[in-house]
């Protein structure tokens, strides 16, 4: 299994996705640092960007950009094996189908979350060096906020992995993962139009992806934080279990 992961690391740093991930990540970070303004993507989530927090913390509230950037590591690790049909080389010579699933899942999770943390810490240290303590928090406080978001990103990457094994085709995987949060927001805004569905829409709003990422960074109640972690844990567990069961029954 370690061999599979070593091989993936060797290959993934040669992909376009690797370069795009770091270029976009650096561009967003450097623009934000230069303008003293948080940069990234919002999907109409309920977040107060003018909260009395320093730039680095508010920037973590905009981490939805990593939802889209983390598609690339999962795509390069798993979907590429299906689209290039190289999966049969691995399964016929290196590992069984079951081990393939575990090795790919573990690597995609570790690698994606590693990228997420590295990119954020890179932002933190550059921001601290360029803008000083006026715009940056102590490392401990920043780490607490960042690791507080980690369960949500574990759930996101787990869901991506499940979808990669489920769809196998690159186009289907990309379309679904890119459109899902947009569709969620669209359905939510539609429901707000109906009085009878307002309560459901408000609940949906609470657990909308950019709301969760933003609130967990900038500030939220303890119960909300626990609820976010429960939702994330359920998504992670269901994605992993369902992904494995479907994968075991599938023909390569």
């Amino acid at each position: 299994m370690i061999n599979i992961m070593k091989a993936d690391l060797y290959r993934i740093i040669r992909t376009k996705g690797f370069i795009i991930f770091w270029l976009v990540s650096l561009f967003v970070s450097l623009t934000s640092i230069a303008n003293h303004e948080p940069g990234g993507i919002m999907l109409g989530g309920d977040i107060d960007l003018n909260a009395d927090r320093k730039l680095d913390i508010i920037q973590t509230g905009m981490n939805l950009v990593y939802y889209f950037l983390l598609i690339m590591p999962v795509f390069s690790t798993i979907t590429a094996e299906f689209t290039e049909h190289t999966i049969k080389n691995t399964i016929t010579s290196a590992v069984s189908k079951g081990r393939f699933y575990f090795a790919k899942t573990l690597f995609a999770l570790v690698y994606s979350l590693g990228c997420f943390l590295c990119a954020n810490y890179l932002f933190y240290f550059i921001n601290r060096a360029v803008n000083g303590s006026k715009y940056s928090s102590p490392l401990g406080e920043y780490s607490k906020v960042l690791f507080g978001q980690l369960p949500v990103f574990v759930a996101i990457v787990s869901l991506f992995i499940f979808l990669a094994f489920f769809f196998k085709k690159g186009a289907a995987f990309n379309s679904i993962v890119i459109l899902s949060p947009l569709m969620y927001s669209f359905i939510m805004s539609m429901l707000f139009e109906f009085d009878s569905a307002k309560k459901l829409a408000e609940k949906m709003m609470k657990f909308e992806i950019s709301s969760m990422i933003g609130k967990l960074a900038i500030g939220c109640s303890h119960s909300y934080r626990i609820n976010c972690y429960i939702v994330s844990a359920v998504i992670t567990a269901v994605s992993c279990a369902l992904g494995y069961l479907i994968w075991k029954k599938r023909e390569v």
């Binding site: 061999n3 290039e84 080389n89 399964i91 016929t92 010579s93």
Partner: protein, 305 residues
């Protein structure tokens, strides 16, 4: 006794109502160059997919190096294969692709990459991206991948596809070298009978998922060579007369009702006359001898009828 490296027993694979492989028995001995012959969709690739673990059998079992079940799964590391078309990462070079698989297989000695690239005449293209390769080059890289870690068994699915005549003859030589110099057992599938005949020493004919026949090259030669076929219900007496009265020694008793004479100088009318004169009932006597293609057509015809 020769060591059996791969054996399947009543191996069956069904997809819904259709059966891709039906109770297939196959025996491959160490050092064999084993040819799987069948038309497109006959079940050759399914057989290969089953023994390499790409798909699970619906019924039946197989043994690898005498081991079955989970133990056989562990022995799969001793197999190198190229199933269907060769697949590699297009944005990586031939060397990088093979290095990727070196990492996967835990091969520390990187010199093996250049060795296998040289074996398949791809040394000059080692730094070319896979997406720029011709079909023949892709096939050759697929073979390089299959033999990368010096496996005991190499399984190649239609490796001749897309190769030009020179490429095919070079590949034939490569197969011989792999078998003779490295002691590898090769299982090669193809629908081009003449090409398989040129390299293999044992054959399996397969059609509509069913194994028609498993024969050695010498048996196949006998089956296809020109001969006089005699149908009689007393083969013992007939063979005695052939030897004593006509001095024929180059013949074979096929079963209790059939004898074949391979001596080209023998005339059927004389054989017939001699047998009848010696009170042997001759039910049929005719000259036969078929090409490989005709032999295969006959086999397929027998199954269909």
């Amino acid at each position: 006794m020769r060591e059996i490296v791969l054996q399947t027993k009543k191996l069956t694979k069904s997809y819904g109502r259709s059966t891709a492989l039906d109770h297939a028995d196959m025996t491959v001995y160490k050092g064999d160059i084993y040819g799987l012959i069948g038309r497109n969709g006959a079940g050759k690739t399914t057989m290969m997919k089953l023994v390499t673990g790409l798909t699970d059998p619906t019924n039946g079992e197989y043994s690898l190096f005498g081991k079955t079940g989970m133990a056989a799964d562990r022995e799969k590391r001793r197999i190198g294969c190229l199933i269907e078309s060769p697949a590699f990462f297009g944005n990586m070079t031939a060397y990088q692709n093979l290095r990727y698989y070196c990492y996967q297989k835990g091969i520390a000695d990187r010199r093996q990459i250049d060795e296998v690239l040289e074996l398949v005449n791809l040394s000059d293209a080692r730094n070319k991206k896979f997406k720029t390769f011709s079909l023949g080059m892709k096939q050759r890289l697929g073979i390089a991948f299959a033999v990368l870690d010096n496996p005991d068994i190499v399984i190649l699915d239609e490796p001749i596809n897309g190769l030009d005549p020179i490429g095919i003859s070079e590949l034939r030589e490569t197969f011989r070298r792999l078998s003779q110099e490295r002691g590898m057992t090769l299982i090669i599938s193809s629908h081009i009978l003449s090409e398989l005949y040129a390299v293999a020493n044992r054959f399996m004919f397969i059609e509509s998922g069913k194994v028609l026949k498993e024969v050695s090259k010498s048996e196949l030669d006998l089956e296809c060579s020109r001969c006089i076929t005699i149908g009689t219900d007393d083969t013992a007496k007939a063979s005695n007369i052939l030897e004593r009265k006509l001095g024929i020694t180059d013949y074979k008793v096929i079963d209790s009702r059939e004898i074949r004479i391979y001596d080209e100088k023998v005339k059927p009318n004389i054989v017939n006359k001699t047998l009848v004169q010696n009170d042997v009932d001759v039910m049929k006597i005719h000259e036969s001898g078929v090409s490989l293609e005709d032999y295969f057509k006959q086999l397929v015809g027998e199954v269909k009828s």
